[in-house]
């Protein structure tokens, strides 16, 4: 299909006898923000890890930028890995490196850029995620959770990726921080022309960011569509997820926003 960055066809994931995904088809279009939602243990993060090639599918195929993640040749896969970035839930900053070195690491790994250029690029990335330069020499253990997320995001976009994966981007942040983090992602999405795939539990984040939503339930993909299409679906999980007290509040907030603008 034209314009698709990620294509998943007939994907099965299995751990031993435990089936996580059953025959999943999904495609992510260029430039959109796609959210994966589902109950705890429904395999959202596993699906994300499948798209990153961190898990082995039992059946089916995952193609990113048209390159099959499994069984393809290694050099193409390596160049593929420079075109995407991932923000892990806990940040996964290298605890032995300073903030600066964490962001510089992927740039240094290219072995093509000189140290001065790397320095300036890291500083731009830090500025983009709103971290002051004085924090650059700190170690990750000296930082708060919100800062770690921002720096991990700076590392994820260090290689100017076209595709960004986010695993629970706002989990563990207070409401104020998570709102500014959502704004940051929106800004980066606009500025860097990114395609974003995101796993989230947080309804406010989901509603604020997603262009399309994929709902995972009972090993299958229930529906893929815009917020309105998903909410209109009669599936009981969707009813509980969006039409509960919290869900309705988040949806109403969006409607208010739409009316205001």
């Amino acid at each position: 299909m034209a314009g698709c960055i990620i294509e998943i066809e007939g994907l099965w994931t299995q751990f031993g006898s435990h089936v996580v995904h059953r025959d999943i088809d999904l495609s992510v279009r260029r430039g959109e923000i796609m959210s994966l939602v589902g109950g705890s243990g429904s395999g959202k993060t596993t699906l994300l890890r499948q798209m990153l090639g961190l898990e082995q599918p039992a059946r089916g195929e995952v193609r990113v930028f048209g390159v099959p993640l499994h069984g393809g040749d290694q050099s193409r896969l390596r160049s593929l890995r420079n075109r995407w970035g991932m923000l892990f839930q806990e940040g996964a900053l290298f605890s032995a490196l300073t903030v600066f070195d964490n962001i510089a690491l992927p740039l240094r790994e290219l072995r093509a850029l000189d140290e001065g250029l790397i320095h300036d690029l890291v500083m731009v990335k830090l500025e983009m995620v709103g971290i002051e330069p004085r924090h650059a020499a700190k170690m990750p253990s000296e930082l708060s959770g919100g800062m770690i997320k921002r720096i991990a995001l700076a590392r994820a976009i260090a290689l100017e990726p076209e595709l960004l994966f986010l695993d629970e981007p706002t989990a563990g942040l207070d409401p104020d921080r998570s709102e500014s983090f959502v704004k940051l992602i929106q800004e980066l999405h606009r500025e860097l022309d990114l395609t974003v795939v995101m796993v989230t539990h947080d309804l406010d984040t989901l509603v604020a960011l997603s262009h399309r939503i994929a709902v995972l339930c009972e090993q299958r993909l229930v529906i893929v569509g815009t917020l309105d299409e998903v909410v209109a679906n009669p599936h009981p999980f969707i009813g509980n997820f969006f039409m509960g007290e919290r869900g309705r509040r988040a949806l109403e907030a969006v409607k208010d926003m739409v009316l205001l603008t």
């Binding site: 390159v67 250029l117 300036d120 500083m123 020499a137």
Partner: protein, 379 residues
């Protein structure tokens, strides 16, 4: 979109033209990190050359893609400011705006300190004092916990103690046997050659008996256990710190010393003498086999004259050392484990320090034993 389509953007290129003394530099293709990476080494000198001419006109209108890496490359070539003659696609305009803010200099490297040596020495001494204080505190807490347990024996953590004995004792039997046997063989072999010169063959039993039972057995076993179990204890507690398990225990009101430190100290204090006994036995067997081969000393003669050659006090001394060594190894392992900070580097440093310290302490304490008990069990 297929991979081929995405690669459609042409490689970055640079074209220099001179029209009537005016230099013109035309850039085109994909000036992004992906496209630049393979061609950077040839493009960079060309760019620098163009930038030498202040009045050079830069035409970026044919640039298909421009990202921060490409823009930053140009920005640095221009001397970190916008050049006067710049033709740009409107969508690329905002990328340079971000660079316009003057970034404050970052002190990534600490300035040179003339008193560096003194400061390092002072920090070393202070850290030694700090470690000693912390060890004493942990030890004190263990003693208090033990006294408390004596009053309420139902709370004694038997399961932890028994698991520790299995891990530190039973599972160490193989390696201590191997090392003990080989050391016995080597010692006996080398001594036998010397003794043969003087015709003092029978003294091999004295030499082997005293050195193995009094000194080599306990120290060898302690060093092996310090490397094996000491590092395991430190790493285990360190990972528990990283995963916040230690905090979880503290929240539940379970003291670390009671559930983690004390069982390990008791277990090692108990299993260490047993391991020493085992190492002694195997080392003597090794020595006996070697003595039989070299000096033709019979097994029965060797065994029957061993009690006469070695006063029994040496065995008690060796086993007593074992109790002290065992407790110290566990204490030091726990001390370093509890001090590990939640990052991977600290885990590595802590484990190394723990092993090095416990081996050093074992040898220091052994020297103290040698001086204190110099009149016991010899002659």
């Amino acid at each position: 979109m297929s991979d081929a389509e995405l690669q459609d953007f042409s490689a970055p290129y640079l074209q220099r033209t001179k029209i009537g003394g005016m230099q013109r530099c035309e850039l085109g293709g994909a000036w992004n990190l992906h496209g630049l990476e393979p061609r950077l080494s040839e493009l960079q000198p060309q760019l620098a050359e163009c930038a030498l001419d202040q009045r050079c006109e830069w035409d970026l209108r044919h640039v298909q893609m421009l990202d921060h890496a490409g823009a930053m490359l140009l920005w640095r070539v221009w001397g970190k400011h916008r050049v006067a003659q710049l033709l740009l696609r409107p969508e690329h305009e905002q990328i340079f705006d971000r660079f316009d803010l003057p970034p404050e200099p970052v002190p990534l490297h600490r300035p040179h300190d003339p008193f560096y040596g003194v400061v390092v020495l002072g920090q070393g001494v202070l850290s030694l004092v700090d470690h000693l204080l912390a060890v004493v505190m942990v030890l004190g807490q263990v003693v208090l916990d033990t006294l408390d347990l004596l009053r309420r024996p139902a709370n004694i953590p038997w399961r932890e103690i028994s698991a520790s004995i299995y891990r530190t004792g039973a599972q160490a039997l193989g390696i201590t046997a191997l090392v003990g046997f080989l050391v016995g063989v080597v010692l006996s072999y080398l001594s036998a050659q010397q003794l043969k010169l003087f015709g003092a063959d029978a003294f091999i039993i004295n030499i082997l008996g005293i050195s193995v039972i009094r000194e080599l057995g306990p120290v060898l076993a302690a060093i092996l256990v310090a490397g094996r179990s000491g590092s395991a204890i430190t790493a285990q507690l360190g990972v528990m710190r990283v995963t916040e398990e230690l905090d979880a225990m503290a929240v539940m009101g379970i003291p670390h010393t009671l559930r983690l430190v004390m069982p390990k100290m008791f277990a090692l204090a108990l299993s260490m003498p047993l391991i020493i006994l085992w190492t002694d036995g195997v080392a003597l067997i090794g020595g006996m086999v070697s003595a039989h081969a070299q000096l033709d000393i019979g097994y029965v003669y060797f065994l029957s004259s061993l009690p006469d050659a070695v006063p029994i006090a040496n065995l008690w001394l060796g086993l007593g050392k074992g109790i002290v060594f065992g407790s110290l190894i566990a204490l030091i392992g726990c001390h370093f484990g509890l001090r590990i900070e939640p990052n991977t580097e600290s885990l590595g440093i802590g484990t190394t320090n723990s092993v090095v310290t416990s081996i050093t302490v074992v040898i220091i304490v052994d020297a103290i034993f040698a001086i204190l008990f110099k009149d016991v069990g010899v002659g």
